[in-house]
């Protein structure tokens, strides 16, 4: 086992946010924002250290960062492991979390009277809890730890949905919770079946012993369906729009940009790392077919929305669809004996650029709501006058969702499109292009409406602090400039990963 200082950073990445939660809870409502912001700053340094180390090993040994808890190695002990996928997700989540906390600095300030108030307390604690559980999802190397991490993520997400305590948001939160609980129980059932058959839950050990047989297929199906319910892939998406659109802007950004990615990442781990030799191409095609349906239905329903926040929420439903197109592309390439790495990189870029762009859009919608006092799409006049930076951010984030160069969305779709053509699955390429077209329609509608001049004498309802606008713009710019990652000399995604074709044992 290679233990370096970077291994300890993995432990810190999980421990630090949860320490912040406990500390914030003890110190209480008035100082919770200070505690949260300090934790976020420290956490950023930790993640920065991990990324620095990963970039160093990328050109050197090329091994994943590992930490064996208490020195007990698997199968008895638990291993934390960060490969290229984990490091990239850790970094993306850290960026979104820190910019969302900059934005939320004003929205969730302590009450003037100095009394403890519920909304800021819950928001800041849950922000840290979401961060800690996501980091745990990215670095755990065993299926049961992943189950606990997933549940923690749900428990942190549900209170955010019901943050303002109105009836309809409580209802949305309860529906979300019921979906998520069924999802994690199905996942747990799959994990239990795997343990019964192979006697281990460690991802690496399991991938060596798992065989393509009825029990593995059943376990994979149960776990995947459970995770799809949590990820809100069509047709299990019905809980998402009310839950994400009803929450306050900063909470919606966290839920839509980050929380759904946790369970998606787990599907990725299962299919690519735990059971690559169990997966069949037709199963991957089914997953992508659901993704394609999500893209078409989500985008069309988004077009019909009258409210900005609901439109953005339905756009998330559609964008989640894109995340599942990579599965048949990567496995198709691997089956044909070709390099599947571009498809995987494309999928990762799609996730990260969606996380950045969607957070920017929800935060922008929040600022627009504050300025206008409503978010009716038909009446966005004057927004560009009052909030020039926010409308720019909205346009840049929209460009990334559509996939215009040089955005992250463009590079992701480019990699996925070429993978589709190379593996002879042009139909997924067609779905991507149609989805991009539908997305561009609603992005243009929003931007054009908000560029319309306001009536004479119109005044914004609230003056929005400049730094909130800058946080939104920073998120949108990172999504837009992510495409420049293509110029980067190191291939971080493949750090510590075995190529899919080798794992499968097929030529």
């Amino acid at each position: 086992m290679t233990e370096s200082p970077a291994s300890l950073l993995l432990v810190l990445a999980v421990l630090l946010p949860f320490t912040g939660v406990i500390f914030g809870l003890l110190i209480g409502g008035r100082h919770v924002r200070t505690v949260a912001l300090t934790t976020v700053a420290l956490g950023l340094a930790v993640i920065g250290g991990i990324v620095w180390h990963a970039l160093g090993t990328c050109s050197g040994s090329g091994t994943a960062i590992e930490y064996v808890l208490g020195g007990w190695s698997p199968p008895l002990g638990i291993r934390l492991r960060a490969d290229g996928l984990s490091v990239l997700m850790l970094l993306a989540v850290a960026v979104v979390i820190s910019l969302v906390s900059v934005y939320a600095h004003a929205d969730f300030a302590p009450h003037d009277s100095g009394k403890e108030t519920r909304a800021p307390l819950v928001f800041w604690l849950m922000l840290l809890a979401i961060w800690g559980s996501l980091n745990l999802v990215f670095v755990s190397g065993d299926l049961f730890t992943l189950y606990v991490a997933l549940e923690l993520l749900t428990f942190a997400g549900v209170p955010l949905v019901a943050l303002d305590g109105r009836g309809e948001t409580l209802r949305a939160a309860l529906r979300y919770l019921l979906f998520a609980l069924l999802g994690s129980l199905l996942y747990l059932l799959g994990a239990v079946l795997l343990y019964g058959a192979y006697g281990t839950l460690d991802i690496q050990l399991l991938s060596q012993v798992v065989r393509p047989e009825a029990l593995s297929w059943a376990a994979l199906a149960l776990m995947t369906v459970g995770l799809l319910a949590k990820t809100a892939l069509f047709p299990l998406h019905i809980w998402l729009p009310p839950a994400h659109a009803g929450a306050p802007a900063a909470a919606s950004a966290l839920l839509s940009a980050l929380v759904v990615k946790g369970s998606w990442f787990l599907v990725l781990r299962l299919w690519f790392d735990v059971m690559p030799n169990v997966v069949t191409l037709s199963a991957a095609q089914l997953l992508a077919a659901l993704g394609a349906a999500a893209i078409i239905v989500g985008n069309i329903v988004a077009l019909r929305q009258l409210r900005l926040k609901l439109l953005i929420a339905y756009s998330t439903v559609a964008q989640i669809g894109y995340l599942f197109l990579m599965f048949p592309l990567a496995f198709g390439l691997a089956f044909a004996g070709m390099d599947s790495a571009p498809a995987l990189t494309g999928g990762m870029l799609q996730t990260i650029s969606h996380a950045l762009a969607k957070a920017a859009m929800f935060l922008a919608a929040g600022l627009i709501y504050l300025t206008l006092g409503h978010d009716r799409i038909s009446d966005l006049r004057g927004v560009a006058q009052a909030l020039p930076m926010t409308v720019t951010a909205l346009a840049l984030a929209g460009a990334s969702l559509i996939g215009l160069p040089p955005s992250g969305g463009f590079l992701a779709k480019w990699l996925l499109l070429s993978a589709a053509l190379e593996s002879g699955q042009w139909w997924w390429g067609a779905v991507m292009l149609l989805g991009g077209l539908l997305t561009s329609v609603y992005v243009f509608i929003i931007v054009v409406r908000s560029l319309a001049p306001a009536e004479a004498g119109w005044m914004p309802k609230t003056r929005v602090p400049q730094y909130q606008q800058m946080a939104v713009l920073a998120l949108a710019l990172s999504a837009f400039l992510l495409g420049l990652a293509a110029l980067s000399p190191v291939d971080l995604v493949q750090l510590g990963r075995t190529p899919l074709s080798l794992l499968r044992g097929t030529p």
Binding site: P120, F123, G167, L170, L177, L181, G196, K309
Partner: protein, 116 residues
Amino acid sequence: MNTATLFGLCASMLIGLGLYGLLTHPHPLRKILALNVIGSGIFLLFGAIAFRGAAAGMNADPVPQALLITGIVVAFSASALAVALLLRLFEVTGDVSLANEDPAAHKDTSKDRPHD
């Protein structure tokens, strides 16, 4: 039929019953209970697997029991959170139905400043 198989079959029945209840009952409290029945089924199955000692050919396998305890704690917190939400929903709206697809909900669904 040996003991492990019997327990395994009971577990499958519990999971099936729970799933049926979850899908057919519209009342949220019944759904929460159904989720607990599914959970008990899974825990029973895990117990049966531990009993079988499938892993290493031992008489009984301690790992599933350790995991079970964690699983039970997680399931308990989940139920507590769900029931708390349900109670609050009833306090606020006087109703516990999960269907909210009335047109009024689409008219004004977003409010951004948090209130207390």
